[in-house]
Assembly symmetry: D3
Homo-oligomer: 293 residues x 6
């Protein structure tokens, strides 16, 4: 169950409205790595968890926090839009670069659809989609996904920080940056703990029998480009992070195998086969019934 | 530039057709973590790279390999579909559970749209979308995204491995599992190398001044759920993975701040404000011109 | 069958071109509540109707009108774009705010994709999707959906009215506003008539036996937030609109039930279960065959 | 702020697993009118509200409840999937219709992507999208949208009720049906209260000056189909629900106006104009610079 | 303006219901090349046309026909669904392959969302999207798009013809096949006529000055794969269809040019540049203001 | 297999950065007819081909070239973005129309998401989707689709050519224009060759027995609009391009057939049927079991 309290985790009030910036800030609300993504992602990971205890509690605990971040950003955006002009094309824009920037730099749907309200979309107006969510049931994979989400999220917030000099906005971003710092650290620590406790290991999934994969190819860097600088990396020689092998560098791919011959499906799919004979003949007796009416 | 050779990196021929399995195998071709995703992701990361040398070569080298994986899976799927029946509803299905399974378990578009060919979609027929791709310009974030993609991908392949007993299919999956093992190890090694070389560090982005974030919240686990088990994790106390702090556990959130008052945008957005006076009056003199025709 | 006549229901010609406004006007052509939505929605409702007679005729009659509205808006947008400039970045824009606004405020695809033509997209360029359409087979639900669509549509048109002072555009909008007024009234009247005739009733669907729902929770307002003002509403006490109960106000939720224990699916899904034993052992004898090659 | 409690509002445990039914139940979790939609919709309406007090508290109070419904359904689906088989095509399916049904009737991504977990998608596997959300800032329109959402939602739950005889599932559905009954009543009551308090009125938006619309068309039913039964409805004569007019029935549309002449955009859009002269000539002198390199 | 007549262009009644086939038939209603696509495509091409006369009349005339095809298919699908069962998982399915096929082979949303009605989606349940529509303003390009749409459409209908032996369904498909035959011929004829009248020519757009393209590459087949069979085609030597050149075959690509050096954007984007110095220093004096609070 | 070489097919370096133009250029990288579309389309057509030899080699040969075009455009866009400003709203924009244009005319995700890198999206920021791809297995249909793709692509490039005067950008576009000229010619030649060799013919699919379609409607132009100019076209009289008939012009449609009566599905779908009796009674005895708990 979820409960709402009519407070915000941190102050979310701009010094002054800025509809152009509201447009941009949508990215970390409703974008691929925005707060809706992590709220939903941690939620589905917790509901699908196969273990009680500290890992699931971690997901529960942070999932609800992220829903509160959704609220803070929506609240901030609504205030940034508070003085959003209607944007009449003629007249005003002709003499004023600021108005011109506002006309071009605002999200038309902020005005037309939401009446100066926040929307569950990204900074290009793409609606948020659950195609962004990862919840596989394997915690080592998912915590890595989570670490990435917090990295991409903090990166985007830091870029947005440089795009405004509004102290109120920056104050909220400074808080979100701190929380993303925490969450990056936390998912990395949790992923490491899964390995230390012997619950999961590399490669993911560690419960699949390694003997069933083609082990000769498990640690080969195979270079499909013509630069050779990748041979200098730690991924080209030395022990592997999973502790189970040694990296090997192949400057170019081994010989492949011939492609199989093209397929010949049922003639009634009417694919191009190079056989110009009539379909009736090709289909033969057994399929006659289908062609009678 | 890309060049094509009419060979496959590994044999990709099933022992016998299986249109139901072809439907499922689409996931690792055209799904969120399928081969199209990683091919495009490594491609865009390389084209957007800001450094020449080993890291960019790594992206180039593996990106082209993944395009070859797209080809191997498409080739395999086309062969699995080679004997795909047309699936007439009446007649055949009434007495045969196998036919019933085929009718229900195949992708209708494999037959109707592609004429027994592979498609750039997932196992539910959702078209692949570039919303799956990550290429931020920050390599520590992106390599973590890549590690996750290879984990999710190998997890899905391992599940698919258990869903067939066709030796030809399993042989290809065993090869893909090995390559995913390599790629997981490789991205983890590369992420570590970025840190060791001092090019990037935690938290991402490490080039954003930490002093500008609200440091008091940077290492707090704040529990927004009512279980306390998360206090037992390594993310609740002790040094943080970024080496810059100590984790702290808050059993419940600190007091929040009051939500700001609701916004009052221009009355011409016709939002509900509780002020029933006529809009003409509210808009006043300055906006008269807009209302004249 | 549909027939086309080379006339428009109302004049749809702007006084002068305005490519920035064309961008915005796309919302009511190809947005969530644009004319394509209602044309398709009323069409599918009529084709799926289970009764002949006045309700189906109502759907037929208005569905075709909406297709004509699609045409009027497309025609208007094409004319607004008639003088759309190509938008060369360099040169022109440096000295002229109007050009700057045009560069930023126009839809690039209007020029690049459609050659100064209308497109089936919204004001952010999102392609229209049938995910907007509602046609459930239950007319009381669907007429409520229709009333909402006409309300949202008229709201958007009214906002767009304030965003231009072009008399020709405003003349068309004034016509659309009137038709939306009609259509709001009409769907509300039709929904009411369904109830008066005893064909449908609240709650929808009225044909589902009420005795099968948990009636003790059917009229409780349960407050999951910490404000108490909602207790003052007509939804907190007194008779309910369905005429079958009395509203009740619960200041906070009753106690819940414990969450069920986490699931333990087949080990071959390789989810994290906290059981580090090898998968081979866990799967046991019966599944041996799957692992042999 | 949102807080999570490790309880469910109602018991959500099936009597036995049923992966085929889990597939269907996804509709009311992640479909157009599923619980994610209403949770997000009420959330954005509250964050965009322009008035404090009972209406906003209503949105806050129910929004958090719906997040708990998301959790209940996800929990139920994970349990329905607990014994989800891997679905090997060959062998098992040949002799057993039940297996055939499972192969065809389950969501492949439940197994491959989520490892027997719930997903934020509908019953066809389409990812949830924020294109479903409505939050316009006008409460009369939005509460009508909400009433519709609860009607469509209850209709879908009632259909799902008939599709299982699992007592545990039906118990949860019986609870959801009751809550949907409440929520339908509540939004209808709230919409009515807005009108009674004079805050909003029909037609929406009531704050737009009626004098600016083409009033002669505001109450005409215009029949664009060839049936005349719609003339019998309450929308064809008599007073209108907005109390501001009388319905009128037009058996067929009045004469239209001629379509405007086709547009002639800049020749450099290379549209087909019927003028075969070379573009260089048509572009003339002033545009010469663009063509020089 | 569009008018509706309560007739169908051709009989659209199945001999008996078949919910599994209804699922498949959705492809040609709401798929990439279904009737909604062509109805919208011809509509937008007509509204964006830059010439009055025979070409625009052609678009008008066929566009309205296609809307009638949408209606015929929706009507057919609703009837195929008329006896759609509810699909209770337990019980019925255990002993009956037909039921198993129905459970697996039907679209769950046909039952849950539409109550046994047609939907604007394809045979995998993907909502129709305007991303399928082409309307560029250039008629030679667009008529080629139209020819393709009618080819793909007729191909899909012919595949669907083989998937049923219901005489009523086949009768409708036989009509649609005939109309697609007409429409293929018609668009090819119209494209040819554009060329004969000198209005458009190859290459499209013929109004762009050929002298501005790199003519040395305009007729070279450049082989980026390692097979040489393409040298045997009519595209490898001889005159070109545009009548302006001779095909040439290059067995492999000419030497390329070196890739440009990687980009170095503003450090405040926090991309990985290999320069570990602090961002403060790199940003220098001029940007100090941004970092002050 | 695909191999990468660290060269570009043609120089792809702008004379100077232009973030506004980068935004527009995305269309031909990640739009409906951008390079990703053709690269994937030719790839899937080759992998699904049913014939070895010159046609498949043609697809292989050009598919890899198009992947190189993806790379050239991504490289160009990254350089155009190299000096992309952060776009602080306040301050800078007030006095400078150029800045205003940049604020409005750039893609916010170029900065926030990609850190001044290219993205797999179109010029409105819509992610590329595989819904754009055509690969049906029928080569005459697919080569027509390819011809169209190259026409639309060249049309868009020519429009983009006029939108810049940057010589470096124009040089790349001039190369792409030439390649599109080649590819248009090539697909038209290949489609013609399929017909000349008797492998495919009009109408597509030529292998479906013509006798099974309603031949009386196969060559009729049926006019559903009220203009008669279409009677003047070559599609209204004379021999048809498939060489199998004569066009006929019908000034208006023949009489249709009555629409079938509305459907009456199972009452448990709770559709509106006009029968107000209780559902329990309507469902009768046989369904009692479903309603017991």
């Amino acid at each position: 169950m979820f409960f709402h309290r009519q407070e915000l985790q941190h102050k979310a009030t701009p010094d002054k409205p800025d509809a152009v910036y509201a447009h941009k800030l949508q990215e970390v609300l409703g974008g691929q790595y925005g707060e809706i993504t992590v709220a939903m992602q941690y939620g589905f990971q917790s509901w699908n968890a196969h273990m009680p205890g500290k890992y699931r509690d971690l997901l529960y605990g942070i999932g609800a926090e992220e829903m509160g971040h959704v609220e803070m950003l929506a609240t901030m955006i609504a205030q940034l839009l508070e003085k959003a002009p209607l944007g009449v094309t003629e007249g005003a824009m002709q003499n004023d670069p600021t108005v011109a920037a506002i006309i071009g730099g605002t999200d038309p749907q902020h005005a037309i659809v939401a009446g100066a309200g926040a929307r569950p979309v990204d900074s290009n107006g793409n609606p948020w989609t659950a195609g962004y969510v990862t919840a596989s049931g394997n915690m080592l994979a998912d915590f890595t996904a989570n670490a990435n989400a917090e990295m991409q999220g903090r990166l985007q917030v830091s870029r947005l920080y440089h795009m405004t000099d509004d102290a109120g906005v920056r104050d909220l971003l400074a808080f979100l940056l701190a929380r993303d710092t925490m969450h990056q650290n936390q998912w990395i620590a949790a992923a490491q703990e899964l390995r230390e406790e012997g619950i999961e290991d590399l490669p993911v999934p560690s419960t699949f029998p390694l003997s069933k994969e083609h082990r000769e190819a498990s640690y080969q860097y195979i270079n499909f480009s013509d630069g050779q600088a990748a041979s200098e990396g730690s991924w080209a020689s030395g022990p592997t992070p999973d502790g189970k092998g040694e990296f090997e560098y192949l400057a170019e791919p081994p010989a492949g195998v011939p492609a199989p011959p093209p397929t010949k499906p049922d003639v009634r799919f009417h694919g191009t086969t190079g056989m110009p004979e009539p379909v009736e003949k090709a289909m033969g007796v057994a399929q006659d019934a289908l062609h009678k009416e």
